[in-house]
Amino acid sequence: MKLIVFCLFTIYCCSLVKASPMERKKLQEVLRELKMLKRDFPNTELMMNTPPKDIEDCCCLTALTCFRETLLQQFGISGKYQKKLYKSLNHTLTISGLNFCNTETSTTNCSTCHSHPKEKASEFFNRLESLVQRGLSRIN
């Protein structure tokens, strides 16, 4: 019994150690897909609900959800890069990689997606890119 518990604990610790490089790879993948979508996107003047430039640490996941849902509403998942990006933004590794919140000290109330003012599509993509880069700069 003790041996089983010890083995399970070891496996759990190993999974934690490996998580960071996998999260980093996932976020890098999101960046690549975003760059491809930006390059081929036809209408950069389209107005969309966009999270703000300054996002508090504990509101990053809320902002991620807003980016993902706005992407789905505006473009759907018909296009090749839209579909890939949507799936990547919904991935558990992306969510864990952008979770900067220290829940013990958090008292933040995050804005809803529809409350954000509309910005141009180019600004929308730049802010999403900035959020992912922020995650990569913090991951080990």
């Binding site: 980093r24 880069q133 922020r134």
Partner: protein, 348 residues
């Protein structure tokens, strides 16, 4: 009317006496400090008080001013590595004058140059260079660039991917002197910085007594001079001495459809030419054909023996006579007669 004119005059003169808004320029140094200056348009005429804050953080006054001619021209204050993703607010105050600005500092980062640059001669006989960076940036966020040169020649540069802090020069020459420097910046995946760091201190490897590419040794100069003189002498000799010219540069015969005497193709001396001409004569040796005459016919004309005659003035031919009855008689008349039993000898 008068107050209107006075007001108009004040509006025109006012901007002349108003203080020009200083332009604050901020840069994050090594992801540890923010450095802001406001002397881009020249040293300010008044001493400003500087306040700043990142988004959602408390505003602070400047802990350390930069001065020039006893005037405040800038401020350095500490920051955290991820603060650059937030808007940076600055405020300059002098009396009633307040100048506010907002800055986006994500890309305005300058790292310190790499340190501990070392060189090792690897077991694979290649030259390996290693370095470290001192910023709190993650290793996968820092890209590097190396530049190197051999024997003080022109620099060559090469980019090094993030996470890699080494560079290799293959099969270095033992007689050359290598110099290498490194610089770095934040990689694109982490919000690339617009500025490279300064170049690191150089590191050297190789012979100190390597030949400077600008100076040529004395013996090489002498060798070039002697070689040039020899070449000139050879050309002069070629022009002066026909015999030498013929030996060194033989004439190539020009092919022609008209056949000439082949002897003319060779540049032979007269004596040699004479030797090729034939100086002996050979006399022509006439050979006659003999007719066959049977013995019975010959006996009718002559009872004793058949006769064969030939002209043997200059030649003789040997013929084996197997059958005495088969004899040949010359078609034309001859001056001598030979008995049939004897072997006839004809020699040339």
């Amino acid at each position: 009317m008068m107050p209107t004119r006075l007001l108009l005059l004040l509006c025109l003169i006012g901007p002349v006496f108003a203080i020009e808004a200083p332009d604050v320029d901020c840069l994050i140094i090594n992801l540890k400090n923010v450095s802001c200056t406001w002397n881009k348009k020249g040293t300010p005429k008044v001493n400003y008080t500087f306040y700043s804050s990142f988004f959602n953080k408390k505003e602070k006054s400047c802990p350390q001013y930069l001065t020039e001619n006893n005037m405040n021209i800038g401020c350095i204050q500490p920051c955290e590595s991820h603060d650059r993703f937030m808007t940076f607010n600055t405020r300059l105050v002098h009396g009633k004058d307040r100048f506010k600005e907002t800055h986006g500092l994500k890309n305005r980062v300058k790292l310190n140059p790499p340190t501990n640059l070392t060189v090792l001669n690897g077991s694979d006989f290649n030259l390996w260079f290693y370095w470290n960076h001192t910023s709190p940036a993650r290793l996968h966020c820092v890209e590097s660039e190396v530049r190197f040169r051999t024997n003080n020649n022109n620099w060559g540069s090469s980019k090094v991917s993030p996470e890699i802090q080494k560079y290799c020069i293959n099969s270095p020459s033992g007689s050359s002197r290598y110099e290498l420097q490194v610089r770095n910046r934040i990689d694109d995946s982490c919000g690339s910085s617009d500025f490279w760091s300064d170049w690191s201190e150089p590191v050297f490897w190789g012979s100190n007594s390597s030949i400077d590419s600008d100076s040529v040794p004395l013996w090489m100069t002498l060798l070039y001079v002697v070689g040039a003189i020899t070449l000139i002498l050879l050309v002069v000799m070629l022009l002066q001495r026909e015999r030498l010219k013929i030996i060194l540069i033989p004439a190539v015969p020009k092919p022609s459809p008209i056949l000439h005497d082949i002897e003319d193709w060779f540049q032979l001396s007269k004596g040699l030419k004479e030797n090729f001409k034939a100086s002996y004569n050979e006399q022509v040796c006439p050979v006659r054909e003999y007719n066959y005459v049977s013995q019975s016919d010959s006996m009718n004309s002559d009872d004793s023996t058949s006769s064969v005659s030939t002209n043997q003035t200059h030649c003789s031919v040997s013929i084996d006579v197997n059958d005495a009855e088969d004899l040949y008689v010359p078609l034309s008349s001859s001056s001598s007669q030979v008995p049939s039993e004897e072997v006839l000898q004809v020699s040339d």
